[in-house]
């Protein structure tokens, strides 16, 4: 038991360190990417190609003076960024990044993920309210309505693969994209569901074109207008982490997770296992040098695949940010309730139909479910 | 095919659905009519196939005469287990065949007769529904299913009598039929309840099987059951004292009169008595009552029919009278003869009614025979078919009516009963009735088709002369009259005339309960007669039912054949007399009747006013009933019922006033009350 806990702690620390670094360079990446999109140079002065820019930014944020508005609700004002930040990190802890490389792999991960994504809204709301600034408050109110509205689309989109797989576990869901369980019906439900998910995720994390809670031109960056210094830095941190977590989830649910691509019906993930050792050893008892090597190779290759896929999605987010104008508020609501929600319902219905009509969908996960032990009375 | 017998019910029901739901949409009389007729045609085909199948398949391998088709479990409550099931046996097959057959013909006739009516599809809806219900009645395998059909045909009868409901008179006639039938239904229900009480089941087969062991012969139980059931039969089959609705039922369209109020529905009572014959066999007294009532009704209706002017009224009373004959046959235990007469009667009476409909059609809604006359040359087809049926009903050899009616008279004559005077009396009355039958049927025929033209001036001015009906109407007439001619010697002839016993043999398993007879005979050793002393073969059916009641017959049976021939000759003679006398009077000396009317005024009025039954019932039942209802309203309803209601309201009001202060409108006060209640409940539960 203590070892378990220790292991969890170590993994957690690694995760935090990696994520913070990743956050720092995601900001850099976004600035560079946006600048390229906009035909300008972008940050390139600090270090080679401006690579030390995030570090400089961090130092600057720490050294800045802390300002707290006089009428602010101080406790909440302080708590808000922490909530926003920690919710995003906790979200990330749910996500496996490679074959056997994960902090947790909860059997109810999808539910917990949804719960955390809705809890993350508290950070924004409280920040806006506790600042006692009209703009901030406006941003907070918009954020509440937006998060509640788009969470529906998000949840429905996630339900589609969940229904097909019959499990709430993230690795189970990623595994249906293996070559042997892939099914053409995925194209008809999972692909639209993935688009739905990405759109909802964009709104949920308040990215452009859904960034109405911030909305510089109207609300002067909205809910964090009154924040400064490190407390301010925590908001973008949460935002980037949230975005990354959403993209990671999307990768798992709709892009085959950490699996390597399949070529000619043969799964590269299995190939790796074949190359480095006996594939049975991969799943067998973890003993011996070869097992360690094969596991490491497998873990490393899958992790790299996963990171690449996630980065791809993040780049799409950035691309959209660079090209799309912001929604008007009523358009936002209309889109959420009248387009995404019905679309999600239709997809869920389709998925249910497919599950009923095609028993081998999702690798036959539905039929292999052992329910006999739960038979009541 | 036996398992598919339900199709015969399903087809008309489908017709009902199509015509009933989409009749207004279809709007095409042709399609409505085709749907209605096709349903019946298919139903008739099912009947024929069922009959053939039963005869050639089941008959050879049967354990008993009964083939049951259980469709679905219907009511399972405690030890009451009722299935929706059908019973195929000779009796139901005979009914099945002639019901669907005659209905089919009448449907075809209706397409012509109703051609100019607005409620065309409605009419066929009702007609199809009626046939479905009638088939449920005759095919049901237990009392409950039969009762469904029983009520269903009553409903259809009501709907069809009041078909032209915009006329208040028609609607009232329908109401009258419905109310009078309710009295009979009440009897049927009580009978069924008693059957269930003593047999623990309503299944006919169970009842047949256990009748011998359950019912003590001669006790009050079978008597009560039989009388209750017979009360229902009097209602449905228009027997005295519940006969009053049938003549008024003629308010409906004429095909309806032909189908429901002559050929099929009104025979349901006869069918029920024949169906439950073990019950009636177990109670000689009940049989006697049935015979008495039947005979009296036959006589009474015949006297009324002699003076009626409305052509349909005459036929209606004639129907009542003939139904009386059938019950007479049932009463003397000759159930197969009753069914035989049901069949032949269906043919010739349907033909007569349709003929009268044709006349009414040709005379443009004129029904009074006083304004007819000399129609024969304008409506030859109608005339000849009508004449054939008249001869048949009068009982002239070799028309169908002769065989059935003569057999009834014969069975009455050889009836073995402990009421020694009864066979003689009943035979004399029945023979007299036969004479009257011939007379009044002759009267209506001659008055309508022969003699002077007595058409009203308006009619002549408007239409010049009557016209023959179209093919759709004539064709069924021809078929029915042909059947009325030949049905007799196809189905049954007495021993001295070829001895064709097709129908009798076919029906024997259903109507002569041999197993029961043995038990029954053994139960009354004191009155038992040895087998060899039983009378000649002609009386078998009668003796089968009443082996233990062998007291006296009307005639001593020395030479059976000679006696039978003599009886038959006598009845043919009576019929001839009736027909010829009426021809002499109504064709040659129509004026003479006026004088006789004055001379015999009291008797004439008595007959013309139908023995004043309607007036009597009005005085004895309707007026006091209305008074009682009024009194109930004034006292019970206004004082007690309203008092209770108003008192309740008053109590509620006072209580509300008292507890009003508790309702402060503050939600937290309510929460406090709630908490108080919770605490009290907790204390009750925890502190014991």
């Amino acid at each position: 038991m203590p070892q378990d806990i220790l292991l969890i702690l170590v993994r957690g620390v690694i995760l935090v360190v990696v994520c913070l670094t990743a956050f720092a360079y995601l900001t850099y990446l976004e600035r560079r990417v946006l600048s390229w999109f906009q035909w300008r140079v972008g940050p390139n002065r600090v270090g080679p190609w401006g690579l030390f820019q995030p570090i400089a930014d961090g130092v600057k944020a720490i050294l800045k003076q802390e300002l707290i508005p006089r009428r602010a609700d101080k406790v909440l004002y302080l708590i808000a960024p922490i909530i926003s930040f920690s919710a995003a990190f906790t979200m990330f802890s749910l996500i496996p990044v490679g074959e056997r490389v994960f902090l947790t792999d909860l059997p109810i991960a999808v539910l917990v993920f949804l719960g955390l994504s809705s809890l993350a809204a508290y950070g924004v709301i409280l920040a806006g309210w506790s600042s006692q600034n009209r703009y901030s408050f406006m941003g907070a109110l918009r954020s509440i309505a937006q998060v509640i509205s788009y969470e529906l689309g998000l949840g429905l989109a996630l339900m589609v693969p969940v229904m097909i797989v019959g499990s709430l576990k993230i690795t189970d869901i990623g595994n249906i994209y293996r070559a042997e369980t892939w099914h053409p019906a995925y194209l008809f439900v999972l692909l639209p569901a993935g688009v739905l998910f990405l759109v909802s995720a964009m709104a949920e994390t308040a990215r452009i074109p859904f960034d109405l809670p911030e909305c510089e031109s109207e609300l002067v960056t909205g809910f964090h207008t009154e924040y400064s210094s490190l407390k301010y830095a925590m908001f973008p941190m949460g935002e980037y982490m949230g975005m990354s977590a959403m993209c990671a989830i999307a990768v798992h649910f709709f892009l085959g997770g950490y699996l390597l691509p399949a070529i000619g019906g043969v799964d590269l993930t299995n190939w790796v296992g074949l190359i480095v050792g006996n594939p049975d050893a991969v799943w067998g008892p973890q003993e011996g040098y070869w097992t360690v090597v094969s596991l490491s190779a497998l873990g490393l290759s899958t992790t790299l695949t996963f990171v690449a896929k996630t980065l791809f999605l993040i780049l799409i987010f950035m691309w959209i940010r660079a090209t799309e104008p912001r929604f008007r508020y009523d358009q936002l609501m209309q889109f959420g309730w009248k387009v995404l929600l019905p679309a999600g319902l239709v997809l869920v219905f389709l998925a249910a139909l497919f599950v009923v009509l095609m028993p081998d969908l999702g690798g036959g996960a539905q039929s292999t479910m052992e329910v006999s032990m739960y038979v009541p009375r | 095919m036996l398992d598919l017998v339900w199709l015969a019910i399903a087809f008309p029901l489908i017709g009902v659905l199509i015509n009933g739901l989409f009749g207004r949409v279809i709007r095409s009389k042709l399609i409505s009519g085709i749907i209605g007729c096709t349903a019946l045609g298919l139903s008739f085909a099912v009947a024929v196939l069922t009959w053939l199948d039963y005869t050639y398949q089941f008959w050879t391998t049967r354990d008993g005469p009964y083939y049951e088709v259980v469709l679905w479990p219907w009511m399972y409550i405690g030890n009451l287990k009722i299935d929706a099931g059908l019973l195929v046996d000779p009796l139901s097959i005979v009914m099945f065949l002639f019901v669907t057959g005659v209905s089919f013909l009448i449907h075809i006739y209706s397409t012509g007769y109703m051609a100019h009516d607005e409620g065309y599809s409605r009419f066929f809806t009702y007609l199809n529904l009626f046939v479905a219900m009638m088939l449920i009645l005759v095919l049901g395998n237990n009392g409950a299913v039969m009762f469904v059909g029983w009520e269903g045909v009553g409903l259809c009868s009501y709907l069809l009598i009041g078909f032209w409901y915009k006329d208040m008179y028609n609607a009232n006639c329908g109401m009258k039929a419905f109310v009078v039938n309710r009295i009979g239904d009440f009897g049927v229900l009580l009978g069924l309840f008693m059957l269930f009480t003593y047999f623990g089941s309503l299944n006919f087969t169970t009842i047949f099987k256990e009748a011998g062991s359950v019912l003590e012969p001669g006790s009050w139980i079978p008597l009560a059951i039989a009388l209750f059931l017979f009360l229902g039969a009097t209602g449905k089959s228009a027997q005295f004292p519940l006969h009053i609705w049938l003549p008024d039922a003629m308010a409906g369209p004429t095909p309806v009169s032909a189908l429901i109020h002559a050929a099929t529905m009104v025979t349901a009572g006869v069918y029920m008595v024949a169906r439950l014959n073990p019950i009636f066999n177990a109670s000689p007294t009940a049989g006697f009552v049935v015979a008495l009532v039947g005979c009296f009704t036959a006589f009474m209706a015949a006297t009324v029919a002699m003076t009626q002017n409305d052509i349909k009224k005459v036929l209606a009373y004639s129907t009542v009278s003939q139904l009386g004959y059938m019950f007479l046959a049932c009463g003397v235990g000759a159930y197969w003869v009753a069914i035989f007469h049901v069949v032949t009667h269906a043919f010739f009476k349907a033909c007569l009614f349709l003929g009268s409909g044709s006349v009414i059609h040709g005379m443009h809604e004129e029904q009074d025979t006083r304004y007819m006359g000399a129609l024969a040359k304008f409506m030859p087809w109608t005339y000849f078919t009508f004449l054939a049926s008249t001869i048949a009903i009068a009982g002239i050899i070799p028309f169908a009516g002769f065989f059935s009616k003569d057999e009834i008279l014969w069975q009455v004559a050889i009836w073995q009963t402990r009421f020694g005077w009864a066979p003689t009396m009943l035979w004399i009355v029945a023979a007299l009735t036969a004479l009257m039958t011939a007379f009044y049927m002759g009267r209506v025929t001659w008055k309508t088709f022969q003699g002077q033209q007595r058409w009203t001036p308006e009619f002549v001015e408007k239409h010049k002369h009557p016209h023959e009906s179209g093919a759709a109407m004539v064709m069924p007439l021809v078929v029915l009259s042909a059947l009325a001619v030949v049905a007799g010697f196809l189905l049954f002839t007495p021993p001295w005339l070829g001895n064709n016993t097709t129908l009798k043999d076919f029906l024997a398993p259903s109507t002569a309960n041999a197993q029961y007879v043995k038990t029954h005979a053994a139960a009354e050793p004191g009155q038992h007669q040895p087998e060899h002393e039983l009378p000649a073969p002609g009386a078998e059916a009668a003796s089968a039912g009443h082996a233990g009641e062998h007291h006296a017959a009307f005639i001593s049976l020395g030479n059976v054949t000679a006696t039978e021939i003599a009886f038959a000759a006598f009845s043919v003679l009576l019929a001839l007399i009736g027909l010829l006398v009426s021809r002499q009077i109504f064709v040659n000396q129509p004026k003479a009747t006026e004088a006789w009317k004055k001379h015999w005024a009291p008797a004439y009025q008595f007959s013309l006013n139908k023995w004043f039954f309607d007036e009597l019932y009005h005085r004895v039942i309707v007026v006091p009933g209305t008074a009682v209802a009024y009194a109930c309203w004034r006292f019970f309803d206004l004082r007690i019922v309203d008092g209770i209601v108003n008192g309740t309201a008053w109590i509620v009001g006072v209580t509300g006033h008292l507890v009003r202060p508790l309702q402060t409108g503050f939600v937290r006060n309510y929460a406090l009350y709630l908490l108080l209640g919770v605490v009290i409940l907790l204390i009750f539960n925890l502190v014991k």
Partner: protein, 206 residues
């Protein structure tokens, strides 16, 4: 002391403190947040009681949706400075209510104590599984399928009816809260005197 028991006591303490905080906070927004804390701690207690799905649902539905709604309403309609404390309540309400509440608590505690339930320990759904192994390996106790199976076999009708209820509530809430007057479709005609407010105020003042 197992990690579960430590967690339980911790969460129980948080739950009680946050409940009291909710009760005594002057600012409704603080009340709402205290309640969110309370619900989250209860969610963890559900997890300890082998109810992982309820844990997640508690987070999603209560903390994530219901309380956000509360927050929304409070923020929208309360000015941030509006603070209130326990002002004199209805006549006798406080006294009687207090007595009853104390009686209620004592009775319940007595009832639970007398039930003898304290002896039995909880059993995990899968033999040998523990919270830690669940979190890492994902097997055993955290399996949501038994609850799903139970919900959709024995209780499927109530479940479906719940969906109906939610739909009805949604429509009802919409109809109650929408501003008919501003939409120009007032149910109460413009000419009708809107007196209920004044009447009510007068009654209360009198």
């Amino acid at each position: 002391m197992s990690i579960e028991l430590i967690g339980w006591w911790l969460m129980a303490a948080i739950a009680v403190v946050s409940a009291i905080g909710m009760l005594s906070a002057r600012n409704p927004v603080h009340s709402v947040l205290w309640l969110v804390v309370n619900f989250t701690s209860l969610a963890v207690i559900y997890l300890i009681h082998s109810a992982p799905v309820l844990f997640a649902i508690q987070l999603i539905v209560y903390a994530g949706a219901i309380m956000v709604l509360f927050l929304f309403v409070v923020m929208f309609f309360m000015s941030p400075q509006a603070r209130q404390w326990l002002r004199p309540a209805l006549k006798g309400q406080l006294v009687l209510g207090g007595i009853l509440v104390v009686a209620f608590l004592l009775l319940i505690i007595w009832g639970v104590g007398a039930s003898g339930m304290g002896i039995v320990f909880n059993t995990p759904l899968i033999e040998g599984a523990s919270l830690a192994t669940d979190l890492t390996a994902g097997a055993g106790m955290g399996d949501p399928r038994p609850l799903g199976w139970w919900l959709f076999s024995n209780h499927v009708l109530p479940f479906e009816l719940t969906s109906l209820l939610l739909l009805i509530a949604m429509i009802g809430a919409l109809m109650v809260a929408r501003d008919l007057k501003s939409e120009g479709r007032a149910i109460v005609p413009e000419t009708a005197p809107v007196v209920s407010d004044e009447d009510d105020e007068q009654e209360v003042l009198a």
